[in-house]
Symmetry: C2
Subunit: 182 residues, 2 copies
DNA sequence: CTAAGTGCAAATGTTTTGCAGAATC
DNA sequence: GATTCTGCAAAACATTTGCACTTAG
């Protein structure tokens, strides 16, 4: 099941091209942060929630539910977390401000960390599918400014820039060859 | 578990609060534009494609597939278009550059016109779910500027601002009346 | 004519849910 | 100890697809 033959260069994040994204201000571990949130809601920190949170924050890659299910729902050791539980915890982590949906690819919601990783926006190359992260304070400022003009109280924003990355927009180059661009 | 009591006021677009969004530069009718596209692909302009295109471009509201199905799949006059056909045509209109997905709400893809309507961005109220459109030239300028710093060639962008709209951020307020908000 | 398009019903794939037993506070 | 959680299997949904029949070009 889950056909999945897509050619999507899936979710690759171009860290090299990113600006000042990468500085990490660790205060509390993700699991701790999650526990705090759960407390405020009168909910409980369970083994499953802890396992899933650790798995998710083990790296900074983007991911979707299916990937977590692949990794966690078939373990035989004590670290198994079922499909339903995974689907139930993800919205909690979102509500906790630790995750956010950034896209939908192949019929699935794609998440990224919203905790322990600096705020940033994305440039997406329509050719190589590369996701370039960038950080620019003026974006936030402008958003803030526009919002206030509309009496809107900003909590977050998402800016995605679509186009061609440096590599893909560079014509076959040098020569007199016909550039088959576009 | 996972509360989820969302009050989704679905897809309402607050035109009043919108800025200069509204100027319309009509060149060719949507149906014509669509026909042109179909021609280039060796495809045919059918009654169903024409009906659907007209229905979609009759107003500038955002919509999802289900809404079109509601309106078109149960007609008894000659204007019926089936569910499958609707789902088959939507991607065509996207490819034609006439529509684009702008969000996902309640598990459905939300579309908006990408033809005959000026470019704009969105503010989305997390409480009443209202979609406020706004247009601000500085957004495009800033995007352009940032992109070029990264050697990125911009083709389009999407900016969504999340937060609370004027109404929802106003505290229960003044009166003792229960405002059944909205 | 003949390739492309449509409607229907059935299939797919993701996400949600009711329940009974298990675990946290 | 009561409430919240988990896993399971089944359900709910949105979207897609196979097929026989229509239709545009």
């Amino acid at each position: 099941m889950i056909a999945e033959a897509s050619t999507h260069a899936p979710l690759s994040v171009d860290k090299k091209a990113a600006d000042d994204v990468g500085t990490l201000s660790t205060k509390v571990s993700p699991v701790e942060k999650c526990r705090e949130f759960l407390l405020t809601k009168g909910l409980r920190m369970t083994r499953e929630r802890s396992i899933l949170t650790e798995e998710i924050f083990a790296d900074h890659e983007h991911f979707d539910a299916e990937q977590l299910i692949q990794r966690l729902a078939q373990r035989t050791d004590g670290k198994r977390v079922s499909r339903s539980t995974i689907y139930r915890i993800l919205p909690l982590l979102e509500e906790a401000g630790m995750l956010r949906k950034v896209a939908r690819q192949d019929g699935r919601d794609v998440y990224e960390h919203d905790y322990g990783y600096p705020r940033h926006d994305h440039m997406i190359c329509r050719k190589c599918n590369r996701l370039v992260e960038f950080k620019n304070t003026r974006v936030r400022e402008l958003v803030e400014e526009i919002a206030s003009e509309h009496g809107f109280r900003t909590e977050a924003h998402r800016l995605e820039v679509y186009g061609l990355c440096r590599t893909c927009s560079r014509p076959p180059e040098s020569r007199h060859k016909k550039l088959n661009l576009l």
